[in-house]
């Protein structure tokens, strides 16, 4: 065997070790991001999630930027983000909700307990709209501009530190 080839295994291993070392320092990428950023919302028209508010449809996303909040009453982090959603609503942001796999009574109970920042809530019993926009879990929040185009995705519950970023994205979407 020519001597230069004898170094190939070591070289390959060194490459792997470097890669692994680098990846160990990186935080594990837990989330699957939507690739629909920049694309228009798909056509949809959902029935109301409960009696108190109208349902949600693509046609509702015209005129000004809005937040689209994917949530569910059985989702624990959604409880954590309720105060932030309320804060956003108080600042004049319109929040349209889509409740994933939820019953009307559970939705009503959740809103009664944790507050209701939504202007509309659609019921997505088989995750159809959730899949259509590339959302992979609850809670997630999307910034939709006045033409119905998805501009930004926030995965996970909204923390206090995220509120400013969302407001900025809403501004950008004007």
């Amino acid at each position: 065997m020519r001597s230069v080839y004898l170094w190939v295994p070591l070289a390959l291993f060194a490459f792997f070790a470097g890669l692994a070392a680098y990846m160990l320092t990186q935080e594990k990428d837990q989330f699957v991001e939507s690739t629909m950023i920049g694309q228009p919302l798909p056509e949809f028209a959902l029935d109301p999630a409960y009696a108190g508010l109208p349902g949600a449809a693509k046609a509702d996303f015209t005129g000004k930027p809005r937040l689209l909040n994917i949530w569910a009453s059985w989702c624990l982090p959604c409880i954590a983000e309720a105060p932030q959603l309320e804060a956003l609503q108080k600042q004049g942001v319109e929040i349209v909700g889509i409740a994933i796999r939820d019953r009307p009574e559970d939705v009503a109970n959740f809103l009664a307990k944790y507050g209701n920042p939504y202007s509309r809530i659609g019921s997505d019993a088989i995750s159809e709209v959730q899949l259509a926009i590339g959302s992979s879990g609850v809670p997630e929040t999307f910034v939709i501009d006045g033409k119905g185009v998805i501009r930004y995705q926030h995965i996970g519950d909204i923390r206090e530190s995220d509120v400013a970023k969302l407001l900025a994205e809403l501004e950008k979407a004007r």
Binding site: T35, I100, A125, I126, E128, L131, S136
Partner: protein, 144 residues
């Protein structure tokens, strides 16, 4: 004693599992299509799509509700006449290459395709050196 055990069973069966919805699964999550040929097509596709909420499973092998919803999408679209490729592309347009186990040549996956070809060349080269050279030597007589 029996009554206690039964009561315990019933009580435990009523325990809610954290963070799970209680809605029924989507119609085609656990129901096959009537046409066996379409079902086979759908099944083959589902075995190559990744469950987004699981650690590493195809949607055909997962009982997660979202996997069921994805199966519903696949089956209802196949029933509506879409081809498996179209459905795969629809999902990749929403989640990227991550959702598909079937590699398609793209800017992020080309090394996976180049590697076997490269290996074939390397293998060929190694074998030629090892065996090609030997053949001429061995025919020339044994070297002790």
């Amino acid at each position: 004693m029996i009554r206690f055990v039964l009561a315990a069973i019933i009580a435990l069966l009523a325990l809610p599992v954290a963070a799970q919805d209680s809605m029924p699964p989507a119609p085609y999550a656990y129901n096959q299509l009537a046409d066996p040929r379409l079902e086979a097509e759908a099944s083959a596709l589902m075995h190559t799509l990744r469950c987004l909420k699981c650690q590493s499973q195809s949607i055909a092998d997962s009982d997660a509700p979202m996997a069921g919803d994805m199966r519903h999408q696949v089956r209802s679209r196949i029933l509506a006449g879409e081809s498996p490729d179209e459905i795969r592309r629809w999902l990749i347009a929403r989640y990227g290459d991550y959702v598909s186990y079937e590699p398609e040549v793209s800017s992020t996956t080309w090394p996976l395709f180049v590697a076997p070809l490269l290996l074939l060349l390397v293998v060929g080269a190694v074998l030629l050196r090892r065996l090609g050279k030997r053949r001429s030597d061995a025919e020339g007589g044994d070297v002790a």
